[in-house]
Chain length 518, copies 2
């Protein structure tokens, strides 16, 4: 096959210097350890949520504090400035007063706390790394916050089966490094990996960038331990890959966003770490070309394809403007990041080259670059993973995380861009193309009810109209608690409420969010 | 690398004629369409089950039959000889009288029947292809049998996303052929594929031979439609790969063995059909060598490994003695079947060759053969998949399906062989090595309570003692309904019962089995 001009361009780019590396992750993490008085408006004072009144729960007074301090000596936070990183989310979009932060170290302590809260009908807010994006991880009113951050031990790892058992507060990236030393990899990866906790990942059924390859947590989590609202410990931790003895209870807790119980331990199937990782970053002229890249990559890369992400030009420009990142390619309407995980570098490179050659010959790849080493791999990923932080720099972000049929996926972005013109600072589309998962993000300088009214419920109507899901991976949290009907039938919601009522009859776990008992 | 003597032997075997092909599948299927009076003892007359009394349910009389016939004209079977293939299992080990067989064609009809049964407190037995192995698919007493066999349409298939939607009665192999024409593959495969139905597969969370590669149905099923005990239709069918809106209700029905509702439709993620399939059949001298083959195959074959099955010599001899199959290798204590699914035949063959060379050089592969074409691939699989049928030819089969840690997996077979010596005809160990799933099967000429007392509860005690599961993939059914405590804690069982009570308050769905409300 004769090399085309475009293909030579691709080859030429293979050795280009990558100039986009910036310490964005530190920047994000600094936001999380802030201390002192908060400038964030209480969520309950925002018009959208002002109708959600405090439930008929008990209150935390001196006697309750004393009881908690007896259970968790030195691990009860009650001053507002100590509590600030637990009472507001990292994007500064949701904030509740809360009443107290409790930090158990063991399942027994967590059980004791919940038994007490249940007996006294105290509302509880369960919290992992507090990296959620839908207001699910922080209180709305004066809920007792239970943080899993001190439950952070690896319990066991079996290097034949690849089964990892650990406590809920283990940070995703820490677990991945632990597994790296042993030749394995965590089956999920997401931008917040340096802060998010595995218990929170499982509670929210976090998706991330490698779901395409390793599947969802419903498949990779083998068992878990959870504490129910009344303090009962339900242990379904398993060292087995297969177990068909009764209902697969762990599944109810995966994605329940803490409304059915506090996940305290997790066992998860870790795949072998790939011996070869390749990343290509490609430019495309149309959304149709983006779809063609995906189809071609599925065909040519087959079993080694581990991620197929896309972003539009506006997302790319945002990371340049707000974070100073540099695009490794010229301006194109769309960019696609392809990643392969394989066991044989030679075979994988051959497959990737063939895939890209084919795309350039057929014209649906306009330009591209392939990372030459681990640093370049990280740099290319950094572009994709920095978009969330870059958006925040604009001010207020209206975040939507939807599943859509691929042919209609980008139409929603184009439509919203038209609708919000003049009011929005940016309207960006990016996400997990391989999973049909679009992140639509619109920004304004300050919170704007008029802009919000233009976006919602239109975005939900559009999504439901094409058979999509209004929450692909972020969950319902507080943001979408009243919108579940767009994606679930009344009968399904009724069954969810039956389960919620059965397991949490007083409705103390994460009230006001996800699935309420009534 | 210099070719060793063993490696030359392997190469020599690559072109050997395969002589093991026999029409075993027809043989199995003929059993299922038998008609006329049954010689099988009613399950309730066997000592093990004789204490399970009929529940306090209504009875089916002339009025109920008339009502059913009005709902399902011409699709109500009530004569014993018409009902026989529905009232006993294909192995002839479980049989109930039942009262009537109902064959709805639509969800609406299924809903109407269940509404009627619920109103009249009639116990119901839900049935797919009736290929289960634990007595879950046939009645114990006079349950109304609802068969999904006429609900067998493909609803839609999306060849970009690979998402298939179909009715519950579609036969697994028919679906796989449907997908084959479109370049995709069903994510599960099992010996009963020619008869089992996808609804039953999902209800029992069937595992099968490719779980190692494509994961469990908890990961691949994207949504389903189910009819609850009272006739309510819960539709969570989804065309999305990702959907985090509320609890993942479908998960409760996956593996519930019909005790929470009748699955009527399924949406499932089909992977692209592999462009290259390779199968190797290997001999090993010790169980340690078997484990070494598995470890080496994970390392060398990585992402293309799609099955790692094993059988012992006794299993192999059984297929020769009872079905006339011929082993492609000499006698070895163990045999391992490795399969690869990949997108590049050249790459895959290179990886497989390297894996086998390594194993023969290091001595843990004693001998082996690689299938040269699709017929040989099928022939090698036939050996593995015929063991269940071959066992049945002995007479009575005591079947155990357990998950065990790999190092202890074969110890259970050796121990049971010693314990049952003199009483058993055969004691065979085989199964899904890659998933830690052993099928332990012991046979006798006739049902023997003394032999059973030697096997149980020892087999369950052993399994629980090493942290295994007493049902890896077959489910609890009737056989293990009272043994759930070996694998699940009292707290977990209590939660299962809460869910059962909430969804089926009268306990009419598949009573006496799996998880009973109390």
């Amino acid at each position: 096959m004769a090399a085309s001009a475009s293909y030579r361009a691709l080859q030429g780019l293979r050795t280009m210097a990558m100039a986009c590396r910036r310490p964005v992750q530190q920047h994000v993490q600094q936001r999380l350890i802030k201390r002192g008085a908060s400038a964030v408006t209480f969520t309950r004072e925002r018009q959208k949520y002002s109708h959600i009144e405090r439930g008929d729960f008990g209150t935390v007074g001196a006697a309750e504090i004393e009881a908690f301090e007896a259970m968790l000596p030195g691990r009860v936070l009650k001053d507002e400035d100590e509590m600030v990183s637990y009472t507001e989310d990292w994007l500064g979009q949701y904030r509740g007063p809360g009443s107290v932060v409790l930090k158990p170290k063991t399942t027994e302590e967590a059980s004791e706390i919940l038994k007490f809260c249940h007996a006294n009908t105290l509302a509880v807010n369960l919290q992992g790394g507090n990296t959620g994006l839908v207001g699910g991880s922080v209180p709305l009113h004066d809920e007792v916050i239970i943080s899993t951050s001190l439950m952070n031990n690896v319990i066991s790892f079996d290097d034949i089966s690849g089964i990892l058992m650990c406590e809920a507060g283990c940070i995703l990236e820490v677990l991945d490094r632990y597994l790296e030393d042993r030749g394995f990899i965590m089956p999920l990866d997401l931008g917040a990996k340096g802060t998010c906790q595995i218990g929170g990942n499982v509670s929210t059924n976090a998706g991330g960038v490698r779901l395409l390859r390793y599947g969802s947590l419903h498949g990779t989590v083998l068992g878990l331990e959870a504490v129910l609202a009344d303090g009962t410990v339900v242990n379904t931790l398993s060292g087995c890959r297969k177990d068909n003895t009764g209902y697969d209870l762990k599944q109810m807790f995966i994605g329940a966003e803490g409304s059915l119980g506090l996940i305290t331990k997790v066992s998860i199937q870790a795949p072998p770490r790939p011996q070869a990782v390749n990343v290509a970053f490609l430019g495309a002229n149309t959304y149709e070309d983006v779809l063609n890249i995906f189809k071609a990559s599925k065909r040519s890369l087959g079993e080694i394809l581990s991620a197929c992400e896309f972003l539009d030009l506006e997302s790319m420009q945002l990371t340049s403007e707000n974070l100073g990142l540099t695009c490794p390619l010229g301006d194109y309407p769309f960019y696609v990041l392809l990643e392969t995980h394989g066991s044989n570098d030679g075979h994988d490179e051959e497959k990737l080259q063939a895939c890209l050659e084919d795309g350039m010959e057929q014209g649906f790849i306009a330009d591209g670059t392939i990372a030459q080493d681990r640093t370049q791999v990280n740099d290319l990923w950094l572009i994709r993973e920095s978009i969330t932080s870059a958006l925040k720099e604009d001010g207020e972000v209206y975040k939507y995380d939807v599943s859509l049929p691929l042919p209609q996926l980008y139409e929603l972005v184009e439509t919203m861009r038209e609708r919000t013109e003049g009011l929005a600072v940016h309207c960006c589309g990016y996400g997990h193309l391989g999973d049909g998962n679009l992140h639509l993000n619109i920004t304004s300088k300050e919170y704007d009810e008029d802009l919000l009214a233009i976006i919602e419920p239109y975005v939900y109507d559009f999504t439901a109209g094409v058979g999509g899901s209004i929450s692909a991976e972020h969950g319902l949290g507080l943001m979408k608690v009243n919108h579940i009907h767009y994606s679930k039938s009344p009968e399904a919601v009724a069954v969810m409420r039956q389960i919620k009522s059965a397991l949490d009859p007083k409705g103390i776990l994460n009230p006001y969010k996800t699935v309420c008992a009534n």
